[in-house]
Every structure is written in C-alpha cells, then in structure tokens.
Symmetry: none
Subunit: 207 residues, 4 copies
C-alpha cells in the first residue's frame, strides 16, 4: 500500500494533524514544512501540490479505517455480544482515526475541492456489510427486531462519537472531566457503553 519513504510519511503525519486541527485552507505548506523539518519545496516535489498531498493523505490512511472483523462474524458468541464487541471496536477505531475523520467530514461537505473519495465509500460499504451480516444473524435467530434500518446504524455510532468529540470542551465541563485522559477514558468506557446500550435497545426493543 505504502510506497512512501520516511520523510514522506513524516510529512503525511504532520499534514494530517494540521489539516485536522486548522483545516486544509488554514494550513500553509510552510507550517507543514517547518513542523516536519523539511524544505518548503519538498511538498510540491514529493506530492505535486498541496491539494495532491491531501489526496495522497486520504488514500494513504483510508485503508486503515476498514473494520477488519471478518473473524468476529464466525465467533461462537451470541449476536448481541458481537454487536457489543463491534461497537467497542468501531469507536476505538474511529477514535484512533479521529484526525482523518475530521478532515473527511470537512471535505465531504465542502464544495471547494473535488477529491476522490471512492476509497472511503468502499470502506463505508465494507463496514455496513459487516454490521448487516450480524444483524441478519440475530434476526434469523429471532433475537433482533425484524424492521431494522441497518444503513442508519453507522450514523448513530459515528455521529454520536464525532459530535461528542467536537464538543469536547463542553462535555468536559458538564461531565467534570478534568483532563484529556479523563475525557479519553470516558469515551472508551461511558460513551461506548452508552452507544452499545442504545443500539442494543433499538435492536431488541419492540415498538
């Protein structure tokens, strides 16, 4: 997948952080160059242009956003447990790739650039398929409700997480999370449990 050298990787990492923190337009190649300790010309030299750097970055990182949980489906545990595991893993995965999600969120809604997001679509399809399979299994066993709109489950999981993280300062305040570690812990514990509970309730509860 990666035919990037050490310096290129360094540039990609720095760019990812900056694009996430201050946006693509808010990031100058001089800032990237300084932070990555490379010459300004290197970005054009390596990637062609600032915009192509973004494209390269997205392509480079997007593959790692797929849920590689093929074996989860075949585990000998109840579907509800699979869902729990999946959500926990999903959230942890989003959390890891938070920067890229931030970048993509902006680019998806921006009418400014037209970057190729086919790879991202692929990832979303893969993840959706995985969820769908587990749901179907639970439905065939009569454990889950029949009328589940599977396509709208990722929005709940991802959306809740992203929104929670976007409003970090607010939630740190009202939930009395005094530092970043506490916030991170809250995500991996309370928020995860909350989302698990929510999805489980939706799957099981007959309305």
């Amino acid at each position: 997948m990666t035919d990037f050298n050490e310096k290129q990787i360094e540039i990609l990492q720095v760019a990812e952080q900056l694009f996430a923190e201050v946006g693509f337009d808010g990031t100058t190649i001089r800032t990237i160059a300084k932070k990555a300790a490379i010459n300004i010309a290197m970005i054009s030299y390596y990637f062609g242009s600032k915009e192509k750097l973004l494209e390269a970055l997205v392509l480079h990182r997007i593959s790692g956003m797929s849920l590689d949980l093929e074996n989860l489906y075949h585990e000998n545990i109840a579907p509800i447990e699979k869902i729990e595991k999946l959500i926990a893993y999903y959230i942890q995965r989003i959390n890891t790739n938070r920067c890229m999600y931030q970048i993509l969120h902006f680019e998806l809604s921006s009418k400014k650039r037209e970057i190729n997001l086919d790879a991202f679509t692929q990832v979303k399809n893969n993840n959706l398929k995985l969820i769908e399979n587990i749901i179907k299994e639970g439905q065939s066993q009569g454990l889950f409700q029949p009328n589940i709109n599977v396509a709208l489950l990722p929005p709940i999981i991802i959306g809740s997480f992203i929104h929670f993280h976007m409003n970090k300062k607010y939630y740190q305040q009202i939930l009395n999370l005094k530092n970043d570690t506490a916030f991170e812990q809250y995500i991996l514990n309370d928020l995860t449990i909350h989302i698990q509970k929510t999805i489980k309730a939706l799957l099981i509860y007959a309305n």
Copy 2:
C-alpha cells in the same frame, strides 16, 4: 437582538452560506462582497474584520437555535409523546440551522481561532435542561428507565443527523434518493422516525 441594517443582514446571510460551503479560510471577503453586491471595504467597515464578522454571525444566529418548547413540557400528553415531538422538532430545527451547525462544528474543533462560544454553550444547556425535565417526568412515572445518561442524548440526535447529512452523496446512493427533495423528505420522515425509535428504545428498554 439585531441592530443590523439591511446591508449587514445581507452580508451575514451570504457569509453564513459561504462559510458553511467552503469554510471560513476558504472564503474570501471579495467573494462575500461580490455575492452580497457590496464594496469590499464594507466588511471591515461594518464588522471590524473578517474574523469579527464570523463572531457577529455566530452571535446573530445562535439565539435561534434554542429549542423554544417551554409549553411542550406542560402539555397534557405522555412523556414518550413529548420525547417524540421534541426529537422531530429538534431535527427540523437542526436542519434549518444546518449551515450554522456546519460552521460551528468546524470552529469548535479548530485550534485556529478563539471565538466566543458562550452563547452556544447556553443554548446547549437550555436544550439539555428541557430534555432532562421530560426524562425526569417519565422516570417519576416509572415509564422510563432510571439510569439514563441524559447528557449523551443530544449527541445521538444531533450527531446522527449531522453525520447523515455530511455523507449526503453516499446515503443518496445507497438509499436510492434521487434528488435533494427526496433526501430532505427522507430526513424529515425516515431518519426522524429512526432516531425517535432509537431514543425511545433506550429510554424504555431495560438492559
């Protein structure tokens, strides 16, 4: 609240759309000026600077984002119905203020500018309080589960919506929504119902 003249309102409207579409950094005051058919110098003249325009915009629009549902609480209907009504109203309200949400989402996570978002915090607190009251009512009647993390309900509602809308193209494709109207309709019908169902299940279902 508004001591803005006609031209200023026009600028704010144009700015809101552009900031939402291409971001703050991606928007030039020349673009705003051209679209609003005013002189370039007017933005600095009226608002002080581009950044202060953003602040003025946020302040100007944020008040309208509060859920004005004081009377809903006192309506003589079951708490579960109140929740349903609240969610429908909430989503419709977010949908109306979509541009501003987009802007705020970026600014909240951006480390670039330090704009005063106290008013937004206030709105969030108000909305949270409203939800909390209805939940408590339901709980006191033994209709809702006791252990509800109320603070995490808005993330589900807003987050799901925002994520759904951010990935508009993707969902239009997989849900076969052929135009913008169909997409809008899907939000106000299917997505709303889905979120209502999710929250209701969470409130009622004992895990």
Copy 3:
C-alpha cells in the same frame, strides 16, 4: 484611447523598456514595481496579471505605430520625393517605437504566449496601403517599374533598420561611431539615405 491614470502610464513605460531590454520572461514584476516606484501588488491590481500587462501595453502603444501620412499622398511633389519622405518618416517612427518593435518581434516568433496582435496587423495593413498608393501613382506616371512586389518593401525598410540596431555594437565598431549620439545620427542620416537609395533604385531601375 488611453483610460490609464498617471501611475498606470508609468508602469507601462517602465514595463516597455524592461520587456524590450531583457525580454518578458526576463522581467520580474518586482523589477517593474521597483523601477516604477509602486507596490508589487499594483501590477496585478491594475492589469490583472503580468501577461495582461503585456497585452495592455501592446494595445496601448500599437496605435501610435501607424504612419499618419494621409496628406503626404496629396502633396504636390513627385512620387519619388514622396517615397523619400515616407522612408525618412518611417525610419524615424520605427526608431521612436524601437522598444515596442523589439517586444513584438519576440512575441511574434515566440510559441509561448498567444497575445492578440490584430491591432498590429491592422497597422501593417494601413502602412502597406499607403506605400501601395504612392507606388501606383508613380507607376501610372511611368516613373516606377511596373513589376514591384510592394508587400516586400516594408521588410527591406524595417528589417534593415532592426538588424542594424540589433547589431549596434558591431556597427558602432566597424563604422567608428563612438557614442550613442553618433549612432543615432548615423541612423537618421546615412542609414536613412542608404535605404532611400535602395528603394528608389529598386523602383526605378529596369532589370
């Protein structure tokens, strides 16, 4: 013709000299700005871009390159005298517009830029027509040879002058012209006479 303000005229003059001396590509807008004592941004501001400055310059100056000798044709002197007067005036005119000729010579043969030279074509056509009329007059009076290729007369006049001027250093040396004044004088006297003599011989001499 000119809707340029004082500063714009200044820029055009400086640009003309520099484009002629070191070429368009050899001239930087910084050099122009410094020499014209204006801000770098002014060139883009006034003319749009460096290339558009060139176009504006050509358009601005080209009209002055037409031979305004309508009355010469109606003067009551022999055609041969008209030719003499025309050549003297022509050379003096080219000499005055030397910079622009230099620029145009390069642009005409350059495959790099595609600037609109219709106005220049017009000028050439006008000048050619004027010469043609005088020649025809001389021919109808039996003074000039009948088979004159009129279109090839300007190349002799202009070409000789340009080539002479291009090789200024060389001709200064072999003709012992010790300074610029002497060189200029040689052009207006000896070279002019030489070209007049050449054209006259061609028109009169039967081969």
Copy 4:
C-alpha cells in the same frame, strides 16, 4: 571544433530549438532534459550551467554560419552574377541557421546576459569581406556604382529575411501562402529574387 559526445549534441539541438521558440528565459532545463531524454542534472554536469549551455551552443553553431564562398570570388563569371549567387546562398544559409539567428537576435539586444559573441563578429567580418571583394571587382570594371556603403548591404539581406520570417503569419495571409512548404518555397524563390533585384538595382543604378 566539437569535442561533444552524442548526448551533449542531443542537448544542444534540443536547447537550440527551445531557445529559439520560447526564448532562453522561457526555457527551463527540465523541458530540455525531458525533450532530450536525459537527467536534469546533466546540463549543469556537462555544461556547468544553463547560461554556459547557451554559450556552448552559440560557439558550437556559429562557425557554420560563415559563408564558405572563397571559390565564388575566383569563378569566371560576371560580378553581378556573383552577387546573385552570393545572395541566394546567403539567404539559404540564414534560413538553415534560422534558430540560431533568432537566439542571437535576442541575445544581441538583451542587456541581461553578457555572452561572448566574438566568434559571431568574426563571422560577420568574414562575410562582409567577401561581399566587399566582389563589389570592388565590379566597381573596378565600372559595372557597379562607386559610392556603395558595403557595410549596409548585409542589413538589407539578413534584415529583410528575418523580418519576413518573424511576421510569418502575416505574410502567409496577405501572400496567400497556405502552408509551411509554400512559405519556404516563397522565401527561396520570390523573396530571394526580390532581394537580389534590390541589391542589384542599388549597385547598378546611378542616382
């Protein structure tokens, strides 16, 4: 004369064409390198710098621009015929070396670079000497006029040709020369005859 290897020759050829077409400043070493299918570093490596490449090119090509017509002088034909032959040969020679003439024309008038053009001066002196000898022969036989400014004959020949070629598009249009071949043929026939006629008239006609 040439101690250049195959690759160097290739570079020189490519450079000559590009310098003529888009100018020295308009040509990048990357373009040369790509067209000559060599590494970018090779130009500096072989020639020292881009500027030194130009000098090497001029030196390399300039020797071939001398009129090698020593035997013409001793041919047993009338001086006027010698002049005719010389002009035809001269024009054909200039036409062959057109690219180099273009380059030199720009460099001669450019105040940017200071390249050594002694070799070119030598060539011009040689050519002038040759013409001078033939003229003197004609004068001593009483065939040519006595007061001929020999130094101003090359400007007529070269200048006319160069100017004609510079304005290729214009003359193709007004002379109805539909393609490059027709244009080339016109040069070798009509233009050559025109210049021959002009010079002959000047030499013979008593004014």
